[in-house]
């Protein structure tokens, strides 16, 4: 008798082999890239920031599990694919460090349930869930979302200790003199007092802003660490340069033009790039696969659009920072961009007609 070899796996078309990259490995790398900025933020703002961070992440996993159960999907396999964790992580990075615990819970709930699962789960959502939650929180709870903690690093004598921090997060008891305005917020209010920039920015230090030693959202403050993480992601080929470069260059060029024309009323390009959520958004939020265009040219358009909107909102809008709004607006434009900007098929022109034969 002859023994024949038999295929023991499904007869599926090629490719029969593949890369080792998986959804979880991509999510993991993004988390690794934002880890330094996060750790630095947690250190700068102490125990309250750590509590808020944990509450946000844990509640996101809880909401994700609930949704998966309701939808009748496998919980174990999907819950730990890293996507819910990453969404919550990015949301937490944009929250004020002394925000009460329920801000994190409501934010996570919003991001996971309304931002992602109602659309059908991973890959189906139109808007960036973290930014959707951030904007919803900002509009619903403006006070909590604009109370910015002073830099109060862990284990510093002047910083709140663990018990005090517990009360800040879980009882909303913020001691006096621990909060203030962010640079962008300060500029906006001072403009309304008719002061001019050179006067307003007397105490501004671009160095401490660059390293992240300043008031701001939990993980947004360190331009240096965020840029480092972003560059590493590009080197790992998780993201391409198109969106970050287009976004940052647009803001830089626009603000340069206005600043050169009137430096008393228009903030310098360096301050623009060095403050608020600029680098976090450019490298980690706007580059979200699901909600950004999928061709390089489309991504350039998307990046330019984001940069333009950020600049417009910051300069003329009511809010000091417009990154979240800008990303959401461009998310809404993504299907349109993908419809009009698509690769040319081999042997066809841009309109899909076969090329002419030319010898």
């Amino acid at each position: 008798m002859i023994i024949y070899a038999k295929a023991t796996t499904k007869l599926r078309s090629g490719a029969h082999i593949g890369t080792k990259t998986s959804v979880s490995s991509i999510m993991g790398k993004v988390m690794l890239a934002i880890a330094p900025a996060t750790v630095f933020g947690l250190y700068c703002f102490g125990w309250s920031a750590i509590f808020l961070f944990i509450v946000t992440l844990v509640s996101a996993l809880f909401f994700e599990a609930c949704c998966l159960k309701l939808a009748g999907r496998p919980i174990k396999a999907t819950l730990f694919d890293g996507s819910a964790l990453l969404t919550a992580w990015l949301l937490a990075m944009t929250l004020p460090p002394f925000a009460p615990w329920w801000v994190g819970v409501v934010g996570s709930g919003f991001a996971i349930i309304l931002g992602k699962q109602v659309y059908g789960g991973l890959g189906q959502n139109l808007f960036n869930p973290a930014m959707l939650a951030r904007v919803a929180l900002l509009i619903s709870f403006p006070i909590e979302l604009t109370t910015w903690a002073n830099v109060s690093p862990l284990f510093f004598p002047s910083s709140p200790d663990i018990m005090e921090s517990w009360r800040i997060t879980f009882s909303s008891i913020v001691p006096d003199g621990m909060t203030g305005a962010t640079t962008l917020g300060f500029i906006k209010t001072e403009f309304s007092q008719n002061r001019l920039l050179p006067d307003i920015l007397k105490e501004y230090s671009s160095i401490s802003n660059f390293f992240g030693w300043t008031r701001g959202s939990l993980g947004e403050t360190s331009t240096l660490l965020l840029a480092g993480g972003g560059v590493w992601l590009m080197q790992q080929k998780i993201i391409t340069w198109h969106i970050p470069v287009a976004l940052l260059a647009t803001v830089f060029l626009l603000s340069s033009g206005f600043h050169l024309a009137d430096s008393g009323h228009y903030v310098s390009p360096f301050l623009h790039l060095n403050s608020g959520a600029m680098f976090l958004v450019a490298f980690f939020i706007a580059t979200d696969y699901v909600t950004s265009p999928n061709t390089p040219t489309g991504q350039l358009v998307f990046g330019v659009g984001c940069g333009l909107l950020i600049f417009v909102i910051r300069t003329w809008g009511a809010y000091p920072e417009g990154a979240a709004f800008a990303v959401l607006l461009m998310n809404a434009a993504t299907p349109l961009i993908d419809y009009y900007i698509k690769p040319r098929i081999y042997g066809r022109d841009r309109h899909g007609k076969p090329l002419e034969i030319s010898k």
């Binding site: 002859i2 023994i3 024949y4 070899a5 038999k6 295929a7 023991t8 796996t9 499904k10 007869l11 599926r12 078309s13 090629g14 490719a15 029969h16 082999i17 593949g18 890369t19 990259t21 998986s22 959804v23 490995s25 991509i26 396999a77 694919d81 996507s83 789960g121 991973l122 890959g123 189906q124 696969y289 699901v290 999928n294 061709t295 698509k342 690769p343 040319r344 098929i345 081999y346 042997g347 066809r348 899909g352 076969p354 090329l355 002419e356 034969i357 030319s358 010898k359």
Partner: protein
């Protein structure tokens, strides 16, 4: 400089898959494969119409004897891979994922491997170009890169279109496969001779042999062999799958992009595989038809991976025993490479003209994980050499919007597998596209059929109506004639009566 910056890219998409060629690339082709007792020779080993058998059960044949002749414009004949007795002409499983039956000649070898009287040609360049393609066609040569298009047809098209450039494809971009690599290393002079004969056959001035830059030994062998012939240039091309896709290679070498629906010869370029050039050399110089080929046997379940020259019709299982394949470890059998090759249900299937390799892959080598949701990472768009958007096509196919998938370019998909390879969510994209292509075709056929039936019914009804109308008319005429006759008779009778009275 601006022009080079804005020129059309010569290479688009593609992946650099792990090559896994080292197991077989450095040892010589084994030519001592024991002659199988039985050979199963399918009559369809090529694109086009199957060959028509001209022998019957009980005939004794010699090696190289014509067993089945080519039928129609696009077809190829089949020859006896060894000498022996024809014991069956019947349906046997085809080397195809379906293993559906296909007409096959079964040859019981007599062990003598005795050649039929073959005619050697000392100076092929004295033959008329038409004679070259005629002989190539008669030798049953088809594209040996895997496309299996009859070579003679391509040579004729090249001659009729006065092609200026012949490209010889030595890319061998599929992982694992090294049969072309070894052929180039060991038989470079014969390949170059085949190229010269092809040039003569098409009346073409120059040829470019393109070898991927991961095959430096093959490149230098070919380069040296081509030195005496200024009309043949040997170049190195980047190692990037699917470099061996004819249209990609043509664009890289000549900068020409073949329009959809056109043939490369219309743009003055023809492309042939190195294995085909070698077969042409054998057929023209030595009069030997295509009866054997080099096959790469490799994969994690193969104890002795190798390149081995086997007669066509050899059962893969015998190859596997020769190379000591561990049957228990074999998770998937693939004919061809791991990117585009076809999975086979079992190994009791024959080697055919297009079999460049047979792989026995273990579970670890395969990527056979659970499909996850698409995260729109767009890597499939980045790697697609045809400029398609696989993720959008797959999404539409999933919800049965096949027409939208066709609009998105489903028919321009070349099934190269780059998208499936790169997808982090393990989505079997090519499987979707093949399913959709088949389904679209089935629907078109069904529609065509119902239209034809409708037409038949309509013509039948029209015919019946016409007959009824004619009959009615006839009847009316008959009745009218009858009435007329009766009237006349009556009138005559009345007249007669009058006369009487």
């Amino acid at each position: 400089m601006l022009r080079t910056l804005f020129a059309k890219p010569r290479l688009r998409g593609g992946v650099h898959a792990e090559e896994r060629k080292s197991a077989t690339e450095s040892s010589p082709v084994i030519t001592s494969f024991p002659l199988p007792k039985k050979l199963y020779i399918p009559l369809q080993q090529h694109v086009g119409k199957p060959a028509e058998p001209m022998i019957k059960v009980g005939d004794t044949v010699l090696k190289g004897q014509l067993l089945a002749y080519s039928q129609g414009m696009i077809s190829a004949p089949v020859h006896a891979p060894s000498s022996g007795l024809i014991i069956d002409v019947n349906d046997y499983p085809a080397p195809h994922p379906s293993a559906l039956p296909i007409r096959t000649i079964v040859l019981e070898t007599d062990g003598k491997d005795e050649w039929i009287n073959i005619v050697q040609v000392d100076d092929p360049f004295a033959l008329a170009p038409e004679e070259i393609s005629f002989r190539v066609g008669a030798a049953g040569i088809v594209g040996l890169g895997g496309a299996t298009f009859p070579t003679a047809v391509k040579l004729n098209m090249g001659r009729e279109n006065q092609v200026q450039t012949l490209i010889i494809n030595g890319a061998e971009c599929e992982p694992y496969l090294t049969c072309d690599d070894r052929l180039m290393q060991e038989r470079a002079a014969a390949i170059i001779d085949g190229v010269r004969i092809m040039l003569h056959g098409m009346g073409t001035a120059s040829a470019v042999v393109a070898v991927e830059d991961n095959k430096s030994h093959a490149y230098s062998a070919m380069y040296t062999a081509a030195l005496p012939y200024p009309q043949i240039e040997v170049i190195q091309i980047p190692t990037r799958y699917p470099m061996g896709w004819d249209r990609q290679l043509i664009r890289y070498v000549t900068g020409k992009e073949i329009p959809v629906g056109a043939r490369s010869s219309e743009l003055g370029v023809t492309i042939h595989n190195v294995g085909t050039a070698y077969a042409v050399h054998k057929a023209i110089r030595y009069g030997q038809p295509l009866v054997n080929r080099i096959v790469t046997v490799s994969g994690g379940a193969v104890a002795l991976p190798m390149n081995v020259e086997v007669p066509l019709g050899t059962i893969i299982n015998e190859l596997f025993s020769f190379c000591q394949v561990n049957m228990d470890k074999t998770a998937r059998i693939i004919m061809g490479g791991p990117m585009m090759g076809d999975p086979l249900p079992h190994s009791a299937l024959p080697v055919v003209k297009g079999t460049s390799g047979v792989l026995a892959l273990t579970k670890d080598e395969l990527r056979d994980k659970q499909e996850q949701p698409c995260i729109r990472c767009a890597s499939c768009i980045t790697v697609c050499p045809a400029g398609l958007r696989p993720l959008d096509m797959a999404n539409n196919i999933r919800i049965n919007q096949l027409d939208t998938a066709v609009d998105l370019g489903l028919k321009d998909c070349i099934s190269c597998g780059c998208c499936s390879y790169i997808c982090p969510s393990n989505i079997p994209l090519v499987q979707y596209f093949k399913y959709a292509t088949g389904e679209v075709m089935a629907r078109q056929q069904a529609q065509h059929k119902s239209e034809q039936t409708k037409k038949l019914i309509e013509t039948r009804n029209a015919r019946i109506d016409k007959i009824a109308r004619l009959q009615a008319e006839e009847e009316r005429e008959r009745l009218a004639a009858k009435a007329e006759r009766e009237r006349r008779l009556a009138a005559e009778a009345a007249e007669a009566e009058q006369e009487v009275s």
